[in-house]
């Protein structure tokens, strides 16, 4: 068999899976996002069994598998427990690089909350205190918190 494929430009077809999505936030998640939108407050909730305070709040504790009913208002400040400064650009990112992802232990929460830090990256290290900066226009979305700023 002659290897004719060596001499031709291979054919490729471009495509994209174009499906619109509408994700349900659910009752518990909606309460969290509505509080961000309308009151600029960050809510968590506490598992009645293991006492873990979750943020974002859940309807059910993954570990105990029981329903969660107790709501807690968390601070809008916290401590960075992990971070990375991102150096590559991609359209999935909400802001131009360099920016940082940080896991923030919000005051009053037992789990980390992931968000972005845009400024002052030279001062960013684990252990620094950060504060949520809310967006001017809010729509009940995780980016109603524009980012966290280093205090």
């Amino acid at each position: 068999m002659t290897n004719w494929f060596e001499d031709v430009a291979e054919l490729t077809h471009k495509g994209q899976i174009k499906v619109p999505y509408t994700w349900s936030v659910g009752e518990v998640g909606s309460r969290f996002l509505v509080a961000l939108r309308d009151q600029k407050r960050i809510l968590g909730n506490r598992c009645g069994q293991c006492r873990t305070v979750f943020v974002p709040p859940r309807n059910r504790c993954g570990k105990c598998f029981g329903e969660i009913h107790e709501w807690i208002e968390l601070g809008d400040e916290g401590i960075v427990t992990a971070h990375t400064i991102v150096r590559y650009n991609h359209p999935i990112q909400p802001t131009p690089t360099p920016f940082a992802y940080a896991i923030v232990k919000l005051d009053g929460a037992d789990v980390g909350f992931i968000h972005i830090i845009k400024e002052d990256l030279g001062r960013l290290k684990n252990g620094v205190r950060v504060k949520a900066r809310f967006s001017e226009s809010r729509r009940g979305h995780i980016l109603d918190i524009d980012s966290f700023t280093i205090i």
Binding site: H13, V19, T22, S24, G26, N59, R60, G62, K63
Partner: protein, 386 residues
């Protein structure tokens, strides 16, 4: 030597066209909790989990990872199995093998879909080969319509014959509190519904549904302690051969179903299927399947489907009731659909089907359909297999 395996508990959501009140994980947990309550098994006693759905219906990659809070999979073995429309039956069969292998005693099978979150057609279109099939045989309806029109021509079957199946499914769904579409319909309703692709009309096809189903499979020795009447898995069989829609012979019966059924029957020694099976939960995504595919299984001869159905054999109280649950045409949360068939068959054996109960079920037969004209088959029984 494979261990014997039985279903000991089932749980479903109340299936609806749209569940805006819950996210996907929360929907899953509703079915899981209902299932665990049904068999009084604690999540702590579940040894492993198998979950399935179709990625592009919700755009969640790695659903096994994402679902952990809803499935109860926190610090447990969890695996995702997905094969298109047959996903639910594939998940059930995977849970069966988890237990049969001897490695896990209690395994939770979960199928779910939140079809309202996407454009189902836009997503299913992408199951066709991107180079060869996507522009023509895209998604489910074109190939089904091809089969239906060939079948009508071959045997003189009418649209009214098919409508009779749609009417039956909806009548049965009225007895099932979990079913999505429960309003009775008539043959006229079906005939007057909008034409989608000749001869398929809106009421000839399944809806799209938000829902989840969970089933606990347990090993011999464990199952009997959990359930009064475990539903034993007697055989499973799968045929997922074809890759391109152009390779399917639409004039023949559903070959994959014929072969899967034959294997499932042979493994359990079923010779006279109509006599020996007490109830069926068949994956019938459209009305014509309720005629032609029962021929493929061997319940009647080629072209005899319409008469077999019109004589009432497949109705509640008939010789071989088909889909007491209302079937796929009443509820179709795709990744859960096959598993609902399995769960409903188990419920019939366990005698827990309430208003939709067929009396004295000893043997139940389940099928799955999906992909490129693929089929799955399972036989469940009240008596522990030899």
């Amino acid at each position: 030597m494979a261990r014997r395996v039985a279903i000991v508990g089932t749980g479903q959501t109340y299936h609806r066209s749209q569940r805006l009140d819950v996210n996907g994980r929360e929907l899953i947990s509703e079915a899981v909790i209902r299932c665990l309550e049904d068999c009084e098994v604690s999540i702590k006693d579940v040894d492993a989990i198998v979950i399935g759905n179709m990625d592009h219906f919700e755009s969640i990659n790695y659903v096994d990872a994402w679902s952990v809070e809803g499935s109860g999979g926190h610090m447990k073995p969890i695996m995702k199995v997905t094969t298109g429309g047959t996903t639910g039956t594939s998940v059930a069969i995977a849970a069966y093998y988890h237990v049969a292998s001897g490695l896990f005693d209690r395994v939770l099978a979960i199928g779910w879909e939140k079809n309202s979150e996407s454009d189902t057609s836009a997503a299913i279109i992408t199951c066709s080969d991107p180079i060869w099939d996507r522009f023509s045989y895209a998604g489910a309806i074109p190939s089904l319509a091809t089969e239906a029109s060939a079948y009508m021509e071959q045997y003189g079957v009418t649209q009214e014959d098919a409508a009779r199946v749609a009417v039956r499914e909806r009548a049965h769904a009225g007895n099932n509190p979990y079913a999505h579409l429960r309003k009775p319909i008539t043959i006229e309703d079906v005939m007057n519904s909008p034409m989608l692709a000749y001869p398929i009309k809106l009421l000839d096809v399944c809806p799209r549904t938000d829902g989840a189903c969970a089933v606990v499979f347990a090993a011999e020795g464990v199952a009997e302690k959990i359930a009064l009447t475990p539903a034993w898995i007697k055989s499973t069989s799968v045929r997922h051969s074809t890759t391109w829609f152009g390779d399917v012979d639409y004039n023949t019966g559903l070959v994959s179903l014929t072969r899967a059924s034959k294997e499932a029957f042979e493994k359990t020694g079923i010779r006279e299927s109509v006599e020996e099976i007490d109830v069926c939960e068949l994956y019938l995504p459209y009305s014509y399947a309720g005629l032609k595919w029962i021929e493929a299984i061997g319940f009647c001869g080629p072209g005899e489907g319409p008469r077999f159905v019109s004589e009432g054999n497949t109705d509640m109280g008939g010789k071989l009731p088909v889909n007491p649950s209302g079937g796929v045409m009443s509820t179709n949360c795709i990744g859960a659909t096959g598993l609902i068939r399995v769960a409903e068959a188990a419920i019939q054996i366990m005698g827990k089907a309430e208003k939709r109960q067929v009396p004295d079920v000893k043997t139940a037969f389940v099928t799955g359909f999906g992909g490129c004209w693929w089929s799955d088959a399972m036989v469940l029984g009240k008596k522990k297999p030899l």
